[in-house]
């Protein structure tokens, strides 16, 4: 099997927790911190760390707002994040189809 696709996999997205967050955000226009944490059953610290990495890579943007007197942080994929996620999926599909052809 050609190892090249594996080497091209985006290291930022590839981590299990970050991949889960990217998958959630790819299917939703936006999601609050709480929804991400509750849906994925992750700890506050884990979600914060992964979101920080994704934000620093330019994959995720956030907005802060007030709802019922409480601060709510909402996250969404940036266009760069969406492109990188699509490229990641394409690579995975390439790997699968390579094996099917054999």
């Amino acid at each position: 099997m050609n190892p090249e696709p594996f080497l091209n996999l985006d290291r930022v997205i590839h981590e299990k927790g970050r991949l889960a967050i990217m998958s959630l955000l790819a299917a939703s226009p936006e999601m609050s911190f709480r929804d991400i944490r509750d849906t994925l059953k992750m700890t506050d610290g884990n979600v914060t760390a992964h979101l920080r990495t994704l934000h620093e890579s330019g994959y995720v943007a956030f907005t802060k707002s007030m709802e019922a007197g409480r601060g709510v942080t909402t996250y969404a994929l940036t266009s760069t994040g969406r492109k990188s996620f699509t490229a990641y999926l394409d690579l995975l599909e390439d790997i699968v189809s390579q094996t099917r052809r054999k």
Partner: protein, 206 residues
């Protein structure tokens, strides 16, 4: 790393995306319970006189509230059993999709309560508008569900339009006919769809 790993990774991504976007609670129990409530509610006026337009509106509003509460309890129980949050993003999206047509239906009921005495055949017209609006609600919610909710909604819209168009030809006691129409669509229709879902959902989950 191999292609099995890649397939598993894709499957995981698909599952997470579905969890985020698609309402995954079993819909069959919801349809069956609301269908049963609708059917029972349509049967009662055949024995108890609910004949004025105003009584018709108040009665079916109460039935709607009971059906809504039963649905909420079932959804909550399903969420609790699967150890998932009740007010999840997909649940919120489905609720938002349902809300606008439901507000429309509420306005029709209020109109019937306020001005029901002034017009004849209004109960029938209200029943047909409720079927159309309910169809619109299911059609909108269908974008966030796995099963053919949207198709069922569109069928209801078409049938509701048919009901509306035959209004001048409705014979005899209009509220009684309207109760029967409500039982037919909100009772039998939903129960039939619930039975269909019961078998197809079970097959899908197996």
């Amino acid at each position: 790393m191999d292609s099995n790993w890649a397939s598993e990774q894709l499957q995981t991504i698909r599952t997470i995306m579905e969890r985020s976007a698609v309402y995954r609670r079993a819909l069959a129990p919801l349809m069956l319970s609301t269908g049963l409530i609708g059917l029972a509610a349509a049967t009662l006026p055949q024995f108890v006189p609910i004949r004025t337009n105003r009584a018709f509106a108040i009665y079916w509003m109460a039935v709607g509230v009971i059906a809504l509460l039963a649905t909420l309890l079932l959804v909550r129980r399903q969420a609790w059993r699967e150890d998932e949050q009740f007010w999840s993003p997909p649940t919120r999206r489905v609720t938002e999709a349902l809300l606008a047509p439901f507000i429309g239906g509420f306005a029709v009921a209020v109109f019937l309560i306020l001005y029901g005495q002034k017009f004849e055949s209004l109960a029938w017209v209200a029943a047909s508008i409720w079927v159309i609006l309910y169809g619109c609600a299911l059609n909108a919610a269908g974008f966030f569900t796995l099963r053919g909710f949207g198709l069922f909604g569109r069928i209801l819209v078409l049938l509701g339009c048919g009901l509306f168009l035959v209004t001048p030809a409705v014979p005899g006691d209009v509220p009684i006919a309207a109760h029967l129409a409500m039982g037919m669509f909100f009772g039998l229709g939903q129960m039939a769809y619930g039975i269909y879902l019961y078998f197809t959902e079970r097959k899908r989950r197996a």
